[in-house]
Symmetry: D3
Subunit: 310 residues, 6 copies
């Protein structure tokens, strides 16, 4: 018998101590197939909102809404896999470098135990140390990034580590394969016409909202062919969504709807997902009903259901 979540037909959704998806809290990842990890670090944020450090707690609470069966994917993941809440990575809010190391270590432990790490950030700078941890077993990985921005800048304020640079560093460090990288949802103003030059030069494919307006969702799914040839990592910056659907995102109008993002995520079925993150949920700004955290919880559950360890 696998680990099971608490049923909301037995214990009301509003009752009890909150864990991700109402799953057991398990400190040691040994024996787990999927390890859900909180990464409460937002030392990389530089924009007009903050507070992604509070997201793991918020998503734990919001995820008490989620039940066991995913009718769209036809899966009850808990029949097949041991899934658990492995708590939060031991980040140090006063030491940015030590925090990055702690994230790599925490993810590495799950990966060493054979579990697929699904991480709730935190700001987007956490993707780099997560990928470093993942690299103990999978390197390089393909990448599908849902985001308003390419996050391949070289630096901000002279600093090479932040929420705008993770995928440049990950490329340089050989953690991701830019030839098997798709970036989806790009839009908004940039620093210059050639801001995306690096990403394109490495072979990444950038799909803007303008592209999606013109060509539609099915065309995007056709681009998924680029991901083939090995394991992939999924990174979801909640600002891929229009702020209407994710009130707690850094507001960048004109993004995906929740329906579209869920559609695109589920169409990754068949790819070998070996890790994922959901980042930039600025929990202090969420709606009264915590709609952004609820959406992140749904995306987390979809990710759990998409894992197929063969």
């Amino acid at each position: 018998m696998k680990l099971q979540p608490i049923s909301s037909k037995k214990v009301p959704r509003f009752a009890g101590i909150c864990t991700f998806l109402r799953l057991p809290h398990v400190e040691d990842p040994t024996g787990l197939d999927i390890a859900i990890l909180g990464v409460p670090f937002d030392g990389g944020q530089t924009t007009t909102v903050s507070g992604a450090r509070f997201a793991p707690r918020a998503v734990r609470e919001a995820s008490s809404r989620i039940k066991m069966y995913n009718p769209s994917l036809g899966v009850n993941p808990y029949e097949k896999y041991n899934v658990a809440d492995c708590g939060d990575v031991a980040i140090n809010p006063l030491d940015l470098e030590a925090s990055r190391q702690a994230i790599t270590d925490g993810v590495g432990r799950a990966v060493d135990a054979g579990a697929v790490p699904l991480c709730i950030g935190g700001d987007h700078s956490v993707s780099l140390p997560i990928l470093r941890g993942l690299a103990r077993r999978h390197k390089p990985v393909g990448l599908v990034l849902f985001d308003a921005h390419s996050d391949t800048s070289d630096e901000y304020f002279g600093i090479r580590y932040g929420a705008g640079t993770p995928f440049r560093r990950a490329t340089e460090e050989g953690l991701i394969d830019p030839k098997r990288t798709l970036q989806i949802g790009l839009r908004g103003s940039t620093y210059s016409a050639d801001e995306h030059e690096y990403a394109l030069a490495q072979g990444m494919e950038l799909i803007t909202m303008d592209d999606i307006m013109e060509n539609g969702l099915k065309w995007v799914v056709e681009r998924y062919g680029k991901l083939q040839g090995g394991p992939i990592y999924v990174s979801i910056d909640i600002d891929a969504l229009d702020p209407a659907y994710a009130l707690a995102s850094a507001p960048n109008p004109g993004g995906l709807s929740a329906r579209e993002l869920i559609y695109l995520l589920r169409r990754l079925r068949g790819h070998q997902i070996v890790g994922a993150d959901i980042v930039e949920v600025n929990a202090p700004y969420d709606s009264p009903t915590k709609m952004t955290a609820c959406l992140a919880a749904q995306l987390l559950f979809d990710l759990v259901c998409l894992i197929d360890k063969g």
Copy 2:
């Protein structure tokens, strides 16, 4: 001369005592064609939000935005029908069973007077006692349900009456005709693969958001043929909408847009609507501008305009 609402070109929208659609408050439904009733009962809620009991008051206030003419339907309903605010049903927040009876009685009085009852809930458990009251004149009725969930569960926590069970009870009691029942907007996680088995076995048609993503709105309207053959009841759970469009809903991402729901509702023209409810507006969580209550007010006005007593 029929009963008329106050014009917002004469009295500012922000002034005066609030009634539904700025209509007269009429205690006795005699002589009314359409009776708008508040049903401030939320004793059936079991999820991570609450407060649908406050919706009638919120919708009264929000509906001062609505004017007299509906250009999309080409109707000024007040030229043809007597419509009024009949106040709130006398529910008892400390006695769930007595509240259900009071709802049935209140709706029954309107129905006995020949008025079409349009109800502002309250949580979704109110649909059952409303349908019982409606049954004094119309039984069984066809049903079109806009909802994220089928609401045909047998029980929660061992209890047969709640926000997740009304349409199972209504089927068992012969209040609705499952063969003339459409459920639109279903999505999200469920308890098991066969959760919808009962509904399907009774002959209901379930239209999921996946279906709508695939087939479009016009395909949904084609399904309306199933409703033909008699009077219908319309039940709108505000969570049919994506939370983006209904911030005060219980957040279930990936739903209909406001535009889509309004489109689908208006395409019911030509069907004999004999009653309706709008439920699960959790008013304490509404946006600063009360966008959910404003949307409910618009839906209420569209329902008023769709009534055709022949």
Copy 3:
């Protein structure tokens, strides 16, 4: 070595899974000195706010702010006692009577194990079933009630159980000793001049805000003599506070300040507190920083520190 909370100098306050006061989650109360219980039940609320069912979860989160030592009382309670989070009582939101029984059972289990139950409600109707559970060991108990209202009404809407009646029922059932009962903070409008007649006739002492304005806090503490002669129960309705200090309370202006309530609570030292509740924290309405839940967490910690098992 007693059970210890997590230190916020080691794990940031915003990280980790939330339990009351960051204490271990312990399902079985055996061996505990103090058992903290969530009571997520608000089926007794009848006023213009709701949502006390969400308070246990909110207080768990807010209490991660609290450290180990209480300098005002000169106590680190974890040096002397085993204190734990015993989770939430298994209430049934669709069955008011069954919920009351579940509360009595849950509290009874803690009491049977020799633990002092400290309960986070829930609305004020939960005090009655808590006192019933406590009665397995302590009956009758003295009562100190901090509240804007006496809560000794006989019924609301013809119903004898609700947030306005617990201490009338508790008196009738012999659970509390009205002669050793103090009610502090009363104010606001009432139904009639003789609303407090029952309480006074039973021998309770009612201290209004008018009294406190006139006589000061030290005079109130002098009244504590009335509590002597046996164990006491402490019930804190968060509306004892002015809404300024408890934004999530049912707003009743003119109440105690946080400072005053904390002062009065701490002056109970020396009395044998055998149980307590903090109720009516309507978490959905709390301030952005959750000030009401934070205050409830502080009051909970003060209660923990006041327990002296001799």
Copy 4:
């Protein structure tokens, strides 16, 4: 039998159509002893908040919390007087001068009928036209003003009518008697050292928060002697309160607590109050529980209870 409010032991506080204090809505003031009027006008506001036009509606809703008996004053006002909600004055939001005239007319009608007008503003500029309406029967009146500001400026931006000038105009027009005028709660920065010169020169007494910190509340009550010798008008600018107690006020830190304002208001008993207003409740900014509107409702009820028509 006098007009009676709806009891919240019979109809829940959250149910029904909202009127002031749940009283009957009466269009014609004939036969009334006390007429409660909404004055939804805020065309005089020039500060960093706005929206006092929405206050009458908000106070109607909040006042469903108030019961019939006032224990602090020992009065059930509905035993002795006919009190009713006379709806909102017919202001014109696009015509400032016409709005002022409408207010004078609306108040005048109540005054002509022999009713004491109690007005819920609106911004403070409404006091002038109210006093003009009151002057049909009472002129000049004594004035007790609770306010952070003297509101005796000569002009703003070259305009003589606004929220900062009403009591200068009222003095010039002979509507109030400056020798029988007390201003209580003044504080904060001013334009110059001699800003209050006009008020003092006319004989008004200005009681600052500094005075109150130094001398206490009882000293303030002693100043009430100045009001003797005729009827008085009470004007309460909600910014007399510290913003902690009135979140929807224009924030001016260091003001009265709710308890202090209520205390001071009730000590007006024995004075002949012939009219009153409560202004500057900026309803869009109120707390989630609407604490400012609830406080205004309490102050309104206290005013009703203070009326003694001899």
Copy 5:
């Protein structure tokens, strides 16, 4: 070298004094190509929200998110044009007529200097005085209006100037050419079937949301042919958007998505835009992340990028 905004790679977006798009504050428009003006006037609002006067300040702050390059339009506007923040027009909140004159004067100064005025309102009544100022150089202009309403009413409450009448007055005064006028996004209830009669009779084309649901965005762009033949003015009432995308709008469900409005706006490229406004951002009601102000900032930047002075 043209005037340049501050880069958010050098100065964090959250730091520094806020101007529109982080551009220099320039009092004198001489030498400017594009003058951005705040118009903090909302004396024309009559609906259930208010506070558009606070929008210029809010959009200044939100616009610190915008960078220099617009990839969708392929433009860095600061390479070609001098653009600056010219501060706020000196409106007088206590004098509606004087405010209108001040707006005309302020815009006129920019126009006289040869700058294209881009205005952040304010309510929609400001479009009339802006067009009057613009008329010093361009008269009549074509008009493209994004709005839920036609705003061609003759009066409200007997008054000819307000947020519902600007384009009727502008037509009467010959400021706009109704034959070259498109109105896009109309929906919701109206006062009567013939409310739009005037607009249609003058030759305006009205594109409703029903039209857009039926025909799609590209069909709308085809209608832009009507605008040809001279300079055009762009007026964006933020309620053209569904409230989901603009929480601070006056909520009118069923509108455009942010993506659609941005798409339609950018398709105006090639038309000679000589002025524009963005109005009805009711800043006090904006989301925690200020999503509406952020959207307005994006629209402002797109407008800047669309200006082509040949």
Copy 6:
């Protein structure tokens, strides 16, 4: 003629570009008597709220409420001194050490120019680099700290720089004179009984809220004698206030009221204040009317008025 703020009788408070106290923005401090600096750095926060980086912008906006004359102190500071907004210190959100250096440099420039630096943080860790900058001219200084905590911890998570350690470092570095240090407002739980040992051992005097409850405000002012003998620095952590008065503070119930803090601050008149900070205003959590930022603006103005350069 000294630099003057914009009058809100000429330009409405809600209009124009925001600077501190509506003063001119001056980049170069040469010639200034008082330099107001924003310090948008919150990399030292470790608690359950965040976002102090947004405070300078929020206080700029809120301070448009403040006029020129301070009647409590009898001062118009702009008659005597040149006061200006010197913008924000150039912190680097991705480099904690570089940020501290930038703060020291920014403050040092003002100090070198002979100006008294008044700083709006930022979290409390900024006090250390401010004091380092101040040390170019004044070292050691006396300290009066208003705070719920002593902030003399040695480390958090092994790190010596953070919001809980500034005054330990400042003592070690000889920046402050612990013998001339008063800490006022301490309360709440601590890590151990000897947490305050270091502070006491150095000679600091700690005044808890318990002390203030017992002894009153005048007793506190008597303690000010300890500050004599040289220049002093004033540091105000907004959590010195009860959260009721500062909704955006890290909530710690039982603190000072706004009135009390203002009273105590003004009683520093006569001491030679050579620098000050106001920190820990977590702007994203502020009330709808921004009451905390408004309070900070008032405290800033009082500080300006307290400066006496002899």
